[in-house]
């Protein structure tokens, strides 16, 4: 398998007035394989969201390079084959479901007919037919995040960056959306970089898990997830699952200083 995305010695520190700058990411190197589902897990505040924002170009790295299919996308803001799903959904409240999904196509200059058609496809894919003309405030949290998925997918990104997309949802909705995400991933052929702080979620979804050390974020360990696909809810109670979960937990615990 070839590398879809290469992170080479990324570093980021935030200035803090008179105090020394806060190092959030240091010497971060990672290869993300084409079409794999990669979970990034670490304690909260470890810099994993910052990592995602660096990849999407929302913040600039102090040093290091980001290569996508070998081409340099370091410092390129948004777009360029990257689609991002945000933790707090962050839909545009003044746009309907359709309007939100069409946004990325609109600013990319796609024609009206094409926008419409593609939006309809992805709205159907995330199961929101009938809610095309609803505003975000008329939708539940789970439905809002479905719009968030469709909005990111509509620009046909090669890599989907997901920043704790289920973090703001209740457990049941979370479980349902996890399965739907896996379905979408299997039909849409995407490379997924999925940031989470839930160990169970990371194992259930991913091919590989990157465990991150807390600030400054560095790769602590990369774990291959041994379960076959399609996956079902029941693997969560398998002994291997629980063992893997325990293993990751002890890795995380070492790093956590309360």
């Amino acid at each position: 398998m070839t590398a879809k995305l290469e992170l080479k010695r990324l570093a980021k520190a935030f200035p803090r007035g008179s105090e020394p700058p806060l190092e959030v990411v240091r010497d971060f190197t990672l290869e993300i394989r084409n079409l794999e589902f990669l979970s990034v897990i670490g304690p909260s505040g470890c810099g994993k969201s910052t990592l995602l924002r660096l990849i999407d170009g929302l913040i600039l790295a102090d040093s290091g390079r980001i290569l996508m299919d070998g081409r340099d996308v370091t410092g390129v803001v948004g777009g360029e084959g990257r689609g991002m799903v945000f933790q707090s959904f962050d839909l545009f409240p003044w746009r309907t479901t359709r309007g939100n999904v069409e946004f990325g196509l609109e600013v990319a200059g796609a024609g009206k007919a094409e926008r419409r058609e593609r939006a309809e496809h992805y709205i159907r894919l995330v199961g929101l037919e009938g809610f095309e003309d609803a505003y975000p405030h008329e939708l539940s949290g789970g439905m809002q995040q479905r719009v968030g998925f469709a909005r990111a997918l509509a620009i046909r990104p090669e890599i989907l960056l997901m920043d704790e997309p289920f973090g703001a949802l209740d457990v049941q909705t979370r479980d349902i959306l996890q399965d739907e995400l896996l379905n979408i991933w299997s039909t849409e052929q995407k490379t997924v970089l999925f940031v989470t702080h839930s160990i169970e979620e990371a194992i259930y979804l991913a091919d590989r898990i990157v465990v991150i050390s807390p600030r400054p974020a560095r790769v602590e360990r990369i774990i291959e997830v041994p379960f076959d696909r399609p996956r079902h809810e029941r693997i969560k109670s398998l002994p291997e699952f629980l063992q893997l979960r325990q293993e990751i937990w002890s890795l995380l615990k070492e790093g956590v200083k309360i």
Partner: protein, 252 residues
């Protein structure tokens, strides 16, 4: 509190004051303070006479020009101030000065600059309004959720599209609020300016102040209040219609 109960209380509040006013009016007499009952009768006469409404419409036309110009200049200016520190630093002191300045104090200078005609009234209304429009747009623009701007950037949205498709719609509720606030001040400024040069509706109020009875002048005040409140409610309705997402959020 249920809406009906609230309405009943509001009406009762008005009724109590009207009653006290009626008693005071009967004691003090019509040339000091006309009682509501007398004002009501006079008011019907004023309506039928037509002069009040004609003067009002003339004045409102000029007011709308000044108000519209203030919105056209003030809304983009406020938005830019909220998004650019450079522009904010350059312009903010002037806006602060304009907002605290009394319109009446500006009248003598404006009379020298613009005469006493059409330009004078438009200019006074413009200056009285623009500060409020700018400041509400400014605070709206500063308060835009940075996360929503991140979404725009994440999709590689260009500068112009970010303004048109993200900042402007996010600002919309503030623009409506600014317009409502500005409109109240525009109408006030219109009356004040006209009272100085004795033209239009303000002039009518000024001249009537010299009459023996206070009933007509109170009638004129009622009309201008109705216009001001009515315009305000209308603007709010327009805002709710055009921005249903905002109305729903506020209703929560």
């Amino acid at each position: 509190m249920t809406p009906t109960r609230k309405l009943m209380l509001q009406l009762s509040g008005i009724a109590i004051v009207l009653l006290m006013w009626e008693i005071a009016g009967r004691i003090m007499g019509e040339n000091l303070l006309a009682a509501p009952s007398i004002v009501a009768v006079t008011y019907v006469e004023l309506l039928l006479d037509g002069e009040m409404l004609i003067e009002l419409l003339n004045s409102l036309r000029q007011m709308i020009l000044g108000f519209g110009a203030a919105c056209l200049v003030g809304m983009p200016l406020g938005a830019l101030m909220g998004r650019s520190r450079l522009i904010d630093a350059l312009v903010h002191p002037w806006i602060s000065m304009i907002v605290v300045t009394s319109v009446a104090a500006l009248v003598p200078i404006f009379m020298m600059l613009f005469g006493t005609g059409f330009e004078f009234r438009v200019a006074i209304v413009f200056v009285a309004t623009i500060g409020y429009v700018v400041l509400t747009a400014y605070h709206g623009a500063r308060g835009i959720d940075p996360k929503i701007l991140d979404v725009a950037r994440s999709f590689g949205t260009g500068r112009i599209d970010t303004y048109r498709k993200v900042i402007l719609p996010a600002l919309f509720p503030y623009l409506i609020t600014g317009a409502r606030l500005g409109l109240v001040h525009a109408i006030r400024a219109m009356v004040v300016a006209e009272m100085f040069v004795i033209v239009g509706y303000g002039g009518l109020i000024f001249q009537t102040g010299l009459d023996l009875s206070t009933a007509p002048i109170l009638g004129y005040l009622v009309t201008i209040m109705v216009v001001s409140i009515g315009a305000n409610v209308a603007l709010q309705r327009v805002g709710d219609r055009v921005a249903p997402w905002y109305a729903a959020r506020m209703a929560r």
